[in-house]
């Protein structure tokens, strides 16, 4: 069953915290992965891969550059589940 936006955000935040060690409270929809959370391209790929497994969705490599904010990723995952 497709998860709601807040459930996806919560799950994604767990992954981001695990990968980067940053505070879960900082993982908000409007935060930029690069500029606000200081996540580099390789950590981003790890987050994307773990999100694919967790939410059972496929995020093509060429889409990753479009996932600028946490909200972009959450929206992509919610739509991909639908």
């Amino acid at each position: 069953m497709a998860l709601a936006q807040n459930e996806v955000l919560e799950g994604l935040a767990e992954i981001v915290v695990e990968e980067t060690g940053i505070d879960a409270a900082d993982v908000q929809l409007d935060k930029s992965f690069t500029d606000d959370l200081d996540i580099d391209s390789l950590s981003m790929m790890t987050i994307v891969t773990l999100a694919e497994e967790k939410f059972d969705v496929r995020i093509p490599d060429e889409e990753v550059k479009n996932l600028v904010t946490v909200g972009d990723a959450v929206t992509y995952i919610v739509n991909a589940q639908a």
């Binding site: 580099d40 390789l42 790929m45 790890t46 490599d61």
Partner: protein, 333 residues
Amino acid sequence: MTTLNVRRGPEYTRILGLGVARGENAVPNDDLIEPINSSDEWIQKMTGIVTRVRANEDTSVIDLSERAARDAIAQAGLEPSQIEAVILSTISYPHITPGGAPVLADRLGATPAAAFDISAACAGYCYGIGQGDALVRSGAAKYVLVIGAEKLSDFVDPADRSISYLLGDAAGAVVIGASDTPGIGPTVWGSEGAGADLIRQTSSWLDVRDVPGTAFPTLRQEGPSVFKWASFKMPKIALEAIEAAGVTPDDIDVFIPHQANIRIIDQMVKQIGLPKHVVVAKDIVDSGNTSAASIPLATERVLRDGVAKSGDLALQIGFGAGLVYAAQVVVLP
């Protein structure tokens, strides 16, 4: 009806000797950062590399191969004339033909050994081990010399931010022969040609000839995509190699992956679920990414540092341009 004779070889093989040759110069990050507008800190964070070994201008792939091979043959307690097959794995020998292996065999005094090159990039050493093991067990050759050798500095673009700054020059060689006990586990190998563009040379040799303004080809990669493939798909291949060898991750003493990037190595360790006692080879820090040479180099390093010893079980896996991959569990020489 006339029937043909067939040869049969010994049941088991092992690595009898190992030799390496690193490029003569340890090149620090600071020497490479200006054209890529980067920093020592960034390179270390993204790759783990502090220095990469690069060869002198007049040192060739064959020179590096010869140095490594002589040590491997000596450690095996053999004479070059006893080698019956030479497999040179390289993507940087600068001749389409003849191959480098016959030239190397001649220099070593290993003629008339069968001699051929293989192009399997960073998986090339493990491809060579798989072939060497099979040749000995089939009776096709009593002793096989396998070399992974690269002079990648001939194919780098100093302004390229994707791969050039990772690459180094080196050779690693082993001799494979018969053994009373199994010393080389089954090779799990394969390819994914759909990913051929992920690591590539910038243009074909025909474009260099036919298309005005085409630069000398150098290497490029789609770093994040390669990272994802290597970090998350290759652990499954490694686990298959462990299972094929009839052992478990607990039995592994040393993990010697292709030294592509320390971030890939760390993620692979996590994804495979290797126990804490397993020594993880990280020669990349000092030697950089030397493609087909990196696994034998890292093997020599763990032995020299005393963190692994002869007889230990090593899980080795190579992966790279093709895409191609190969893994096996071996007993260290």
